[in-house]
Symmetry: D3
Subunit: 184 residues, 6 copies
Amino acid sequence: MFTLKVDEEIKLYLFQPHHAIELFQLVEKNREHLRSWLPWVDDMNSPSQFEAVIPLWLRQFAENNGITTGILYKGELVGSIAIQQIDWHNKSTSIGYYLARKAEGHGVMTRSVSALINYAFFQLGLNRVEIRCGEYNKKSRAIPERLRFVKEGKIRDGEELYGRFHDIIIYGILARDWKGMYFR
Amino acid sequence: MFTLKVDEEIKLYLFQPHHAIELFQLVEKNREHLRSWLPWVDDMNSPSQFEAVIPLWLRQFAENNGITTGILYKGELVGSIAIQQIDWHNKSTSIGYYLARKAEGHGVMTRSVSALINYAFFQLGLNRVEIRCGEYNKKSRAIPERLRFVKEGKIRDGEELYGRFHDIIIYGILARDWKGMYFR
Amino acid sequence: MFTLKVDEEIKLYLFQPHHAIELFQLVEKNREHLRSWLPWVDDMNSPSQFEAVIPLWLRQFAENNGITTGILYKGELVGSIAIQQIDWHNKSTSIGYYLARKAEGHGVMTRSVSALINYAFFQLGLNRVEIRCGEYNKKSRAIPERLRFVKEGKIRDGEELYGRFHDIIIYGILARDWKGMYFR
Amino acid sequence: MFTLKVDEEIKLYLFQPHHAIELFQLVEKNREHLRSWLPWVDDMNSPSQFEAVIPLWLRQFAENNGITTGILYKGELVGSIAIQQIDWHNKSTSIGYYLARKAEGHGVMTRSVSALINYAFFQLGLNRVEIRCGEYNKKSRAIPERLRFVKEGKIRDGEELYGRFHDIIIYGILARDWKGMYFR
Amino acid sequence: MFTLKVDEEIKLYLFQPHHAIELFQLVEKNREHLRSWLPWVDDMNSPSQFEAVIPLWLRQFAENNGITTGILYKGELVGSIAIQQIDWHNKSTSIGYYLARKAEGHGVMTRSVSALINYAFFQLGLNRVEIRCGEYNKKSRAIPERLRFVKEGKIRDGEELYGRFHDIIIYGILARDWKGMYFR
Amino acid sequence: MFTLKVDEEIKLYLFQPHHAIELFQLVEKNREHLRSWLPWVDDMNSPSQFEAVIPLWLRQFAENNGITTGILYKGELVGSIAIQQIDWHNKSTSIGYYLARKAEGHGVMTRSVSALINYAFFQLGLNRVEIRCGEYNKKSRAIPERLRFVKEGKIRDGEELYGRFHDIIIYGILARDWKGMYFR
């Protein structure tokens, strides 16, 4: 398992094909919870579907165009976080994530997002990280707000979720903001 | 030449390889003007470079993932307008454009954008069209404002232009807005 | 819809995926009529098959290797005409076509073929256009004869149609013939 | 060396990359002679160019879409003969060839063509073989005439050769003709 | 049929798609015999499966990365022999084979392997040929031993055969050994 | 940086494009030392060559066909270790490695190989791991011997190194050996 260390409790690991079952089980146990905001949840009904999609994530990683990882909290898979498509010309990317219900309330996601922001700014040399949340997805929005992202706009009908469009809030943080806040 | 009729004065045509010279000449004559807001202008220095990129635009068209056209105003090529990558899941796309200086002031671009919005909503069945403009690019911003797009946000450092980042304004219009405004 | 104007009554348009249903209906209504001379008619039994083949035609267009269009006569799809594979080394191509029964007798196909010949000679810069017809397909053969193509040969057993070979007549016209006949 | 036996004196062998030098030397020695009727001769100026094209011929063979062979006459490479693209739907193909000057006059090509016709009709199960010759290429035309092909037509400006178009004669033979002539 | 002549009785021919039926019949008649040592036998249950795999073998041939042939003994297909993946950097390859029961005892395989070794050393210019046999596959091991290969090692659990691992003996011969033994 | 933890001192990390410079420097500093046994050393003369090859390693990882990592010893890159092509049918792979001179003598490589063997047997579920060493490469051979691999054979002329062939020793270890030795 290839991991990016967040802190003593949390590690992010690259999904490989042999992780398909544990990833499926995570989704399976949190299906009701996750489907509120993730459009693909209803389509994923067996480990073999994850076994098919994981190589695509790794290929994206191989093309330096994003990273999809599992979040290990005290040794257990409790969620996923990803650097999505990278716009190398404009040195910009976005981060997406989801968390098992039972792991909520420990700052797991805030710490994981912080780690990937560091990764994006200091290892990849990017200039901007975006997080996009459904307008009424409070838990998701709490993450960028806690990390002092700037709310930059509202994309009307930005996402279709099970037949209904809803609005998307864009949050952004720039490398100079981040360094200013956390590295003085 | 395969054209989409805008009105009696204006047609949009799909660029094909044999249009490379006229497209190069358009850019060549408006180089100073265009490079203020378009990142690729300095890189395009010969017709053969357009001959190389036009097949990529046509391939994108073949994959139902965007359309790049030339704007014919009274029979002359005066600019370009494109439907950029299409997000079919969320039924959303964006439109980009540029115009020769000498064709400004006749509503050419406003009419052309209107035509592509109609195309996007009525032929492709999309739900949302976005226009992204540099914050200080007044002429570009005038188009979505004239067409009553909603200003939805400001993407900080959204684009790198010749070594300097600048902010990007996002404008959006939805199919229901458009139909409500123009088809009552 | 991207169109090549033939005259006030007729336009040729590039098929795109959202035209699959109207193309299917054209074939469906003229099935008996068309299957006499077209080998693929019996294989096309649903709009989704056209939805699958249209992107291949567009890809051929993107590779500058042919164009497949629908014929709009007074605003209605009444047939199809195509520039088939282009032999760029020898500057030569062939044209194929079919027409709904109810649109026969108005010169629709003769005018459409003329337009594509103009396109081949003046826009693509080709030197030779060929039309191949089944020996006993009188209506098809009438087109090149009316346009003063030269009958250049008979390919014995040139085509297999539903299990039986039949002979193919080759008609050819050269750019210099065409210009001599119509542009003096 | 993988060979198709023609008779005691002649064998046809599949070109492989390690044959590039001998093929280059054949062309080199017969350059003046060959360039009269073959458009590619002036472009081939080193063995490495043949080393690059031979894998493409083998790939065509692997796709069951043609065979390019060298003609061994009394153990020496004296020419080349090929089954060109195969139209499997219509069970038709064409044969092309060229011969070193010094090997002319022994019936080498007539025998080689006969062998490939047998191969096309009896091993591949095709129905029609075509040979296309420049109108004034007497030696080339003598082959299909000697083998009683039917002259089926003249393609005006069928080929461009070093900047000048010339007419092409089409000869055809059908499986039933061939079997009738040679196997009674 | 493209053949490599071994001697007056034996030829090796490149499998082409139209040979699928005869190859299937060979396997079908020797199924019990062959499945003892070949992992793929149980998976091949119709000629169409060979029709699918033969183009892959030909493609490997086109890429100069191996050759799969049928063994013709007195005009009848009695087995198969292949040059497997070629390691061009280290100038090394391996040979694999199988024979119909009824053709055993005539030296068919020893002579065929000799011919492919000559081919590998003298036509392809390789330096080393390897043969890998199951430890208890006496008939297979007899071939390299008869040809004075050196037994170089035993790969424990080198191959899985129907759910059970077994050990593999590696035999090797070098170009200089071969030339020393047979060409003094 | 995505790492596989070996122990408190050693981590293995997946090479990504932004590691090209440090990898180049490792090779540059140990060029004399490394070229004795690695065929590619003389060909790698700039960081950009590593930048080109790293995506190929990641692609191999994405295809579940091997892993190429850097060895971090006390936070510094001191060598590389890789799982090479995986034979999934036979559940077998091989491991290759090299180490900077200054990091020798601390058991770095023995511990790293152990970790990858664990990875191969317990995470990937393989059955056999092979290590191939030049016969006279004492330091390399010491690793499998220390880990109680079985010496299974000697491949004569197994590798070409700067124009000279040399013999290769094959060492193998099976999952059942490994579990027996280290997990009783």
